[in-house]
Subunit: 355 residues, 2 copies
């Protein structure tokens, strides 16, 4: 069975209808659907529509508040903490990004943490929001399931806590990094499982420390921190620091308090994220900065390559090319995912995605 492809407008409308059917206000449903579709467009499959069945299940189980009162609970000139009232993370962090930008306009930098938020999709969605305002975006999040033990340990007390950064350029595309602090993000493991493919060695190990490559056995193993067997203490350290910045700082869950939302549909996750916007104009001439980023991207691209390497990529270029390609040719939906989405559609009484 070959993969189905759908265009982004259809995908967005399908997601929007699903969220309306489970009780989100129309505008909120459209916001979440737009961000989830943007995730699929840029190739972040593990964080786009593939999460819809789980989101719907959670909402129906009462695990997410569909009419949240998202509100500021602490505020200084350059910082704030947003209480997400257990709403969809997309809504909370879009609002947080907007606040960070407004603060950075005045003070040079804005930093906003969330508490009582939820899974918000790929980190780069939010890190890129300040770009339109000639600002750098930084984003940190506590993942929604612990798959990583402390270095040398077996108890999974950490998540894949991602970091994203987006840097404005001039004629070049912005530089956008979005990475889990594990060798592979857990969303990638799920995508492999949906596709029936094996994982490469080095993504996960079992409790004896042996490589685990069957994604269906993911529950029996743990992810390796960035750096792998050799320098994984660095990835472990990054995961911990990001968790403290994104979770603990804002009064959100971290460590033992993290709810595994793959196996729990109704507990409040108290997810924490943090976003910073850094206003280029506060640091010098904006055009000069952008020209420097352009020059750097071109220096990298035109630099000498190792034998067998076709192209040197600047962070964010692959996502950008995927976005262009999928905007024109549509978004591929794996067969197993489509079956799951059809089930959601039938349950909610909405039209199937690819009908």
């Amino acid at each position: 069975m070959s993969e189905t492809t759908v265009n982004s407008a259809r995908l967005k409308d399908f997601i929007r209808q699903a969220f309306i059917a489970v009780g989100l206000p129309d505008a909120d449903a459209a916001t979440v659907a737009g961000l989830m579709t943007a995730a699929d467009l840029q190739g972040s499959e593990g964080h786009g529509v593939s999460r819809l069945p789980q989101y719907v299940r959670r909402i129906r189980a009462g695990g997410v508040n569909v009419r949240p009162n998202i509100r500021v609970v602490h505020e200084h000139a350059a910082t704030a903490v947003l209480n997400g009232d257990n709403g969809m993370g997309h809504l909370v962090m879009k609002r947080a990004a907007e606040m960070a930008v407004e603060k950075a306009r005045v003070t040079g930098i804005g930093w906003v943490n969330s508490q009582l938020s939820n899974h918000a999709g790929p980190a780069s969605l939010y890190a890129t929001m300040p770009l339109a305002h000639d600002m750098i975006g930084l984003y940190f999040a506590v993942g929604n399931a612990n798959h990583l033990p402390p270095w040398g340990g077996l108890d999974m007390l950490l998540s894949t806590n991602p970091i994203a950064a987006a840097i404005p350029a001039g004629e070049e595309n912005p530089v956008v990094l979005d990475m889990a602090t594990t060798v592979a993000a857990y969303g990638k493991v799920k995508t492999k499982a949906l596709r029936g493919e094996a994982m490469p060695e080095g993504w996960m190990i079992d409790r004896e420390g042996k490589p685990l490559t069957d994604p269906k056995r993911a529950d029996e193993g743990m992810l390796l921190p960035l750096g792998g067997m050799e320098a994984g203490y660095k990835g472990y350290g990054l995961a911990m620091i990001i968790g403290l910045l994104a979770g603990t700082l804002g009064g959100a869950a971290m460590g033992r308090d993290v709810i595994d939302f793959n196996h729990d549909d109704d507990s409040v996750t108290n997810t924490g994220q943090a976003i910073a916007a850094i206003n280029l104009a506060a640091f010098g001439d904006v055009a000069t900065f952008k020209r420097s980023v352009d020059a750097l991207a071109r220096d990298f691209r035109n630099s000498q390559r190792m034998p067998g390497v076709d192209r040197i990529w600047v962070p964010g270029e692959r996502s950008h090319e995927t976005r262009l390609k999928r905007t024109t040719h549509g978004i591929p939906i794996a067969p197993a995912l489509l079956r799951g989405l059809d089930q959601v559609a039938d349950d909610l009484g909405i039209t199937r995605l690819a009908n």
Copy 2:
């Protein structure tokens, strides 16, 4: 020949005298000596007194300004750019940390970039400065020599651009991460060379992509980015983003503009660093935050270990234990380093370190 050990007061005084002999004002010489000694005390050998011969050579060649006019060139409520006037980086970044703390007191966060700074030693020295004010410290720097190509490339356009983060705890020690975005920092390569030891495989590769383990051949090879052969594109991305934040943002060198200060004693390096201070009190109750960090550190330490693992370390614990040990028992100085320091002492007409 066994290693010499010296106590920290003697080491600090030796360094101080060396800097006074090459023209630094007494107070500045004491500040730099204190920070370099702190580096050696915590086990950051690659960034402590081992750099003294190079610093002295650079100052005598006119490559560093011994009487800089360190000044603010851009300022907003929460941000600033400091022009270091080509002074010692330690002086510039201590001042930057102090400014960031003062800003964070008022606005919740302070972020200060440097331009025309110089090598400042280990990142953690500055990231830890906000701790005493119940603030989180973050530090980013552009390294002073390019040893890292873009992923898939051969041209060394990036340095080991380090990141450090320091998080206040209550009864536990603060969590302190200080890491290069390469598998190994170049300072570690130098330390191996000084000690006559081989490097492990995975630190460096030669231009054919083969492992390079002889630190004396370091000039023929390149460092591997964090993630190694498997996920090194992540370390590459981190190195680039940190370079943009610490260098380009403040108008300092990045990419092709970075001066290799191992092979150039007189060009102005235009080194850039950035420091952020995040005021815990702006995000909630400080005591609650600290209790959460304590609980997390204890959860990690007491969690189940893999077979053969004696202890689970929280980032910063090793440095803390080294500091305690060296404060009591002294700082070991490798024979090759001691010979270099004796040469410096003789050249400057000051008393040898271990006389």
